[in-house]
């Protein structure tokens, strides 16, 4: 009893082949889209790799690019087979390959599912990389004369301006590091000396933030120094002041950016899985419809198409027994070898 049989006449077969051909070309375009999304994601990770301490994992974008290219190839081949399917001579050269091709498509769908899962799960890795990278970034902000770190200040300033964030968790992270280089501190000044000595590690800490934390939407000119000292500024209360500097932390801002990107890509990959499954089902119907023609010479005869030749349970039992016989064949051979020896 075949699984989901459908009767076909010539017109229905032609329509199926044409519709399937268009669907395969749509899948090729989707494959190209996945490839380009992989490239885009890779570029975005590279752009901000300094914020992630240069050890972010490029597994997901690389997989996306690979999967995109394989999808293009598989679907282009499927489209070609569909295009030739209405011509018996051309179709006969593809016929022997089709079983392997459909198994390959199944395996590819499993791979796509794996990629979609990775898109959703690797966000944790990105979060941890960001936390570590931003902490170091803030620490190295002042080292504009150290080779390898001289652009950290610029990168961090541009990130805070672009993503409208300040510090790692919030702006108070800047109070805990020295973000002014010693080159610009007058060590002969009493105030400076006091501040440096009052600190265990000899760091010049202040309750100030860099200019890139300033919010342009604030009605008053930016207050970036003496943030916790209400008397230092006219009509200022640091507990109620909201618009002065960005309140969001950069880890949260960057993570939400990358997480939304990865979620969208994951959703697109799941859609691709559905599309590929529909393609496979259509191709299976087309193959079986062309194989079961009652009169092979007459193209206008009726035929039947199905998804599985026997029911689901029976097909599964068949596969298991095949796997068992493969295992038993090996054991019999070993037994055969031993007596001879």
């Amino acid at each position: 009893m075949p699984f989901m049989p459908v009767k076909f006449n010539l017109q229905k077969r032609v329509k199926l082949a044409q519709g399937l051909w268009m669907l395969y070309w749509l899948s090729v375009i989707v494959g190209i889209l996945i490839f380009s999304l992989g490239i885009f994601f890779k570029i975005e990770l590279r752009k901000r790799s300094e914020m992630m301490d240069n050890n972010e994992s490029h597994l997901v974008p690389n997989l996306l690019m690979l999967v995109g290219m394989v999808a293009c190839g598989i679907n282009a081949f499927g489209g070609k087979v569909c295009h030739d399917s209405l011509d018996p001579i051309k179709f006969s050269k593809w016929k022997p390959l089709l079983k392997t091709y459909l198994l390959l498509c199944c395996g590819f769908n499993v791979l796509l599912l794996l990629v979609a899962l990775l898109c959703f799960l690797m966000q944790f890795a990105v979060y941890l990389a960001l936390a570590e990278g931003l902490k170091n970034g803030i620490k190295f902000y002042k080292d504009t004369d150290t080779p390898g770190r001289c652009f950290m200040k610029r990168t961090l300033d541009m990130t805070q301006i672009e993503f409208r964030c300040c510090g790692n968790n919030n702006f108070r992270d800047w109070f805990e590091v020295q973000w002014i280089s010693n080159r610009y501190l007058d060590m002969s000044n009493d105030v400076v000396k006091d501040r440096v000595l009052s600190n265990v590690e000899g760091k010049y800490l202040m309750d100030s933030v860099p200019f890139s934390c300033c919010n342009p939407g604030s009605p008053r000119p930016c207050i970036q120094h003496h943030l916790t000292n209400n008397t230092a500024h006219y009509d200022y209360d640091h507990r109620t002041e909201e618009l002065n500097i960005w309140v969001r932390g950069c880890r949260e801002a960057l993570f939400s950016y990358y997480s939304s990107m990865m979620n969208s890509i994951g959703a697109l990959v799941i859609l691709t899985i559905f599309l590929e499954s529909v393609d496979m089902a259509g191709l299976k119907y087309l193959c079986t419809a062309l194989e079961t023609m009652t009169d092979p010479e007459n193209p206008e005869c009726e035929s039947e198409g199905w998804l599985l030749e026997k029911g689901v349970k029976e097909t599964f039992a068949d596969m298991l027994s095949k796997v068992k016989t493969m295992g038993k064949t090996n054991q019999v051979e070993e037994g055969g070898d031993a007596p001879q020896a």
């Binding site: 504009t144 300033c214 008053r220 009509d235």
Partner: protein, 344 residues
């Protein structure tokens, strides 16, 4: 003696019609491109209209949008005519309109040329609009509590950060206006009162700039206040300090941005003009080759195609004669009416 005569047989006519049809569809895409460029330019002007004192001229983007729409229409019609040109019955219904259509195409090309010229020339009045708008923008920077101006600070800050510029001509423009609102000045402090008293207009002027002038590439944290006072900062000389704040003026920056955009659009319109001239010539060849069939019943007969039926000089004198005849026709009618009036 026709201008640029070419002999056609059936195969050549078919090839000509097919390639002109293809070019017309390409020209439709070019029309869509001109339309979208006009739309993009309009949106960019709107985005920053606060900085141009809200009286920037939208003439050029509106003209581009209009031209783009007409180009789409004309070229779609031309493509349809080409498609029908190989079928004599279908072509017969288009034939009477073709002469007027081609004249219209020539006029349209002239208008496109005027548009391209405007793209390159509109830079000059734009400069004045920007200068006026930016000066007012800086004046109203502190008025974050005045309705209608409360977003000027935000717009100006975002613009200075995005275009990497400071002030109108340079950063010293900020020294000449009060950019801190009186709401945030402590009038009981002696220092504030002195500063205001020392100024004729009673303004609180300082040698400081807003934070948005800061250059993130500077190796040291940004110095935005007391900029001309070397002793206020350690190891600082304002004559040699280069990377601290943006050196460029915002009028310069915005002008080069919009100027570049207008130059690109002008160049693209010139390319579209060349494409339109090519399709007009192609259409003229299609028209003339189908009109001069040696044997109208036999589609495989030979024919001739040209750009102008007579030479350029003769065509020009013909047009002049026609215009004179139209003028005289008017005069003769007036004379006849006057005669009739006097008789009765």
């Amino acid at each position: 003696m026709a201008l640029m005569l070419v002999k056609f047989d059936l195969k050549k006519r078919v090839k000509l019609a097919q390639s002109v049809w293809f070019m017309y569809w390409f020209a439709v895409l070019a029309g869509v491109l001109v339309f979208s460029m006009g739309l993009f330019f309009k949106i960019e002007l709107r985005k920053r209209s606060e900085l141009m004192d809200n009286n920037e001229s939208h003439f050029l983007p509106n003209l581009l949008i209009f031209m783009g729409l007409i180009a789409c229409g004309i070229n779609a019609f031309g493509g349809k005519v080409c498609y029908d040109s190989l079928d004599p019955t279908k072509f017969a219904k288009w034939k009477p309109m073709l002469k007027a259509f081609l004249m219209f195409c020539v006029v349209f090309n002239a208008l496109l040329f005027v548009t391209a010229l405007l793209c390159f020339l509109m830079r000059i009045p734009f400069q004045f609009t920007l200068a006026e708008g930016l000066r007012n923008g800086m004046k109203y920077y502190k008025d974050t509590d005045t309705p209608g101006r409360c977003y000027m600070k935000r717009t100006l800050d975002l613009m200075q950060m995005e275009f990497r510029c400071c002030g109108n001509d340079n950063y010293r423009d900020w020294f000449e206006i009060q950019w801190v609102s009186n709401r945030y000045l402590d009038f009981s402090a002696k220092e504030v009162r002195d500063r205001i008293g020392s100024n004729v207009d009673g303004q609180y002027l300082m040698d400081g700039v807003p934070f948005s002038c800061c250059n993130p590439s500077s190796p040291r944290p940004c110095i935005q206040l007391q900029m001309t006072n070397n002793t206020a900062h350690y190891s600082y000389d304002h004559y040699t300090e280069e990377l601290n704040v943006w050196k460029r003026g915002c009028r310069d920056a915005l002008l080069s941005y919009y100027g570049g955009m207008m130059n690109t659009i002008g160049a693209l319109v010139l390319l579209v003009i060349m494409l339109e001239i090519a399709v007009t010539i192609g259409m003229q060849y299609v028209n003339s080759s189908l009109s001069t069939l040696a044997n109208p019943e036999d589609p495989e007969s030979e024919s001739e195609g040209w750009i102008l039926e007579k030479t350029v000089k003769e065509t020009f004198t013909d047009i002049m004669d026609k215009m004179k005849a139209m003028g005289k026709g008017g005069k003769v009618e007036e004379g006849a009416e006057a005669g009739v009036a006097t008789v009765s």
